[in-house]
């Protein structure tokens, strides 16, 4: 097990290096001259060269990469040319806000997705299962930004039950209850698709496990439904469901960016969005790096969880 952890960490390192290279190149391969964009069309050649030198753009690409990566490792994400502040100072708190929204959405999707999927898997081909399946196809096909707008229109504007946007009431004292109220709509918007996907997958896995010989055998001893469902069916459905949830984290992170923009949630997504509008490349780069790193990290955690819940995997990785 510890050996596996080390192996997995090493392979994660490769992925991380790959991610940074892609994020780095992504920005540098975009057509257009950064210095020119920043200074405008009327800038003199001398001032352009001076800025290029200051930003290190006159260095070969590979040197630029290493300079950048050295900065990233030391926690320096560069300087935002549109907001004129150090990006790390802006992005770290923003990242925490994104984390709040992502974790809330993830919890909601796991709770409802696995719950509903488990229920319909046990009741496969009954009316209730068919209704739930139809609903989940419906849910899975809706784009996040559209759901977000519809939720906002219905609950915030028509019914006036929940705040329209933001993270805290600006005139309130900003307590936990206030945060929760602001969190509800973006969370629902972000997690709806994942709920649908997770519940569909869980349903398929559970309806498969239900027909396994060992479930049948345990049933023959007259175990209670609760014991059978929780201890044996749910437990054996976990490995594939955890994989699906792991993949959905990526989707939720992506969905959270949309929700942040629609609901004006002060997270990384909103930061990237404003950065894109003002062509603030270092900022975009840092934001994308944050998102990509979280995804890699989540996949690492999912892999470890899988080893924990699946004894067969544990052995093959000894």
């Amino acid at each position: 097990m510890p050996l596996y952890l080390i192996k997995r960490m090493i392979s994660m390192l490769y992925v991380l290096i790959g991610v940074t290279i892609i994020v780095f190149l992504m920005i540098h391969l975009i057509p257009g001259d950064t210095a020119q964009t920043l200074l405008g069309g009327e800038a003199t050649k001398a001032s352009l060269d001076a800025l290029r030198h200051k930003m290190g753009l006159d260095q070969p690409l590979i040197i630029q990469y290493f300079i950048w990566i050295k900065q990233v490792i030391t926690g320096n994400l560069g300087y935002s040319y549109s907001l004129h502040i150090n990006i790390s100072h802006l992005l770290f708190p923003r990242f925490l806000n994104t984390l709040v929204l992502t974790i809330a959405s993830l919890l909601l999707s796991i709770l409802i997705g696995v719950g509903l999927g488990f229920f319909s898997g046990l009741k496969k081909n009954t009316v209730i299962d068919k209704i739930l399946s139809a609903l989940s196809v419906f849910g899975a096909s809706m784009p996040v930004f559209w759901i977000a707008l519809m939720l906002m229109w219905l609950f915030a504007i028509q019914l006036r039950l929940l705040p329209v946007s933001g993270m805290y009431n600006l005139r309130g004292n900003g307590g936990f209850a206030d945060l929760l109220m602001h969190l509800i709509l973006p969370t629902i918007a972000t997690s709806l698709v994942s709920i649908a996907v997770i519940s569909q997958m869980t349903r398929n896995v559970v309806s498969d496990v239900v027909n396994k010989d060992y479930i049948n055998y345990y049933q023959s001893f007259g175990l209670s439904h609760y014991q059978l469902n929780m201890k044996h069916i749910l437990r054996n459905s976990l490995p594939p469901v955890i994989n699906i949830i792991g993949l959905q984290v990526g989707y939720i992170l992506g969905g959270a960016l949309f929700s942040e923009i629609v609901f004006n949630w002060p997270g990384v997504g909103l930061a990237i969005y404003t950065a894109i509008n003002s062509k603030d490349y270092p900022m975009i780069q840092a934001g994308v790096l944050f998102i990509a790193l979280s995804f890699v990290l989540v996949n690492f955690v999912v892999d470890i969880l899988n080893i924990v819940v699946n004894p067969k995997l544990r052995d093959s990785n000894k």
């Binding site: 060992y214 055998y217 023959s220 001893f221 007259g222 175990l223 014991q227 437990r235 004894p311």
Partner: protein, 350 residues
């Protein structure tokens, strides 16, 4: 401590059991009007091809036909004197595991892959003995595993199912079935998934359990080798009905029903190895035709379509069980066709 096999106590009594399933477009009786008993300490084997209704018979006894399929059970299934068909579900749950338990067919897939063996056996033990503490359950589990002829119980206790061989897993499955000290074990083809050397070991183990604890065993199989090695009594099933029933000696040495005879002929015979005329002897025989479709209404002798050489008037229009000896019964009068020339043969049976 073996209970006396005096024939007076029946652990299982089945009278006129008919199990009907719902299928698209109608109903089908997969078990029709079967009656038999399992006495205390007895080893009864039901033999038949796929589709003969032998699995449905044990599923009916254990009430394990899925709710989505079952239409109705008719007749009487008495376990230790109590009719389970008139019993509340809750009460029947108490009987499962304690009075009757199942030894699953496929040991490779009948253990939960996510838990260690010890945990699984302990779970069933504590289900059957609600008051048992964890330590007690562990102790009993280790003793039970040891009794199953497992060499290193402590090691098996801490292993996952995938770490064990098929034979060991089958022993664990049998141990689980024995946790509640049942009076009757129902074994669903316990050896079909094992290779021949292991088959014998498992049959010996079941024999030993029968001898030591006096547990009655009802086994289903399609293998006459298992029947002749293991059974006290045999039931031959075909298309949901019992065709012949008797002691192992009666059924194997003096088979009466043409179906039983056919089945016995189908057993591969290795005596050709010593014969001169090897090619001729190596041929295997089979019963022509196939098991009838139960969804269609069946009348008369269900085996008649597959024995075209027997004239129709030898079959009964509604075949009954005929008593040959106190223990030997056979359905339909068609068996007499083969005996018509040799009264002596009939005398021999009696």
């Amino acid at each position: 401590m073996r209970r006396m096999n005096n024939g007076s106590t029946n652990i299982l009594e089945i009278e006129n059991l008919t199990t009907t399933l719902r299928i698209p477009g109608g109903k089908v009786s997969v078990v029709e009007g079967i009656s038999f008993n399992v006495k205390a300490g007895e080893k009864l084997v039901i033999v038949g091809e796929s589709g003969s209704g032998k699995s449905m018979t044990i599923n009916s006894i254990l009430q394990m036909v899925p709710d989505s399929l079952i239409d109705s059970y008719k007749g009487i299934i008495k376990i230790d004197g109590e009719n389970i068909l008139e019993m509340s579900k809750r009460k029947f749950k108490d009987i499962r595991g304690k009075k009757i338990s199942l030894v699953a067919q496929n040991a490779m897939t009948s253990l939960d892959p996510s838990y260690k063996i010890g945990k699984q056996v302990m779970e069933i033990y504590r289900h059957n003995h609600k008051k048992a503490s964890k330590e007690e359950a562990k102790k009993e589990t280790l003793i039970l595993l040891d009794k199953m002829g497992i060499k290193n119980p402590e090691h098996v206790f801490h292993s996952y199912p995938h770490e064990l061989s098929g034979g060991l897993r089958q022993r664990v499955v049998i141990a689980m079935a024995l946790t509640g000290n049942p009076k009757l074990i129902i074994a669903d083809e316990p050896t079909s998934a094992l290779d021949p050397t292991l088959q014998l070991q498992i049959l010996d183990l079941l024999n030993e359990i029968n001898q030591k604890f006096g547990t009655s065993i009802l086994m289903i199989t399609h293998d006459f080798g298992v029947v002749s090695y293991f059974a006290d009594r045999v039931i031959v099933m075909y298309a949901g009905e019992i065709l012949e029933m008797g002691t192992v000696d009666e059924v194997i040495n003096y088979p009466l029903h043409p179906y039983t005879k056919g089945l016995l002929k189908c057993i591969p015979d290795l005596s050709w190895l010593d014969k001169e005329d090897k090619i001729e002897k190596r041929k295997l025989s089979s019963i022509s035709g196939e098991v009838p479709n139960l969804a269609k209404k069946l009348t008369g002798c269900r085996f008649a379509p597959r024995v075209s050489d027997i004239p129709e008037d030898y079959h009964e229009s509604s075949p009954k069980m005929h008593k040959i000896t106190d223990t030997h019964w056979v359905r339909c009068t068609c068996y007499q066709y083969y005996l018509k020339d040799s009264i002596a043969g009939l005398e021999g049976v009696k």
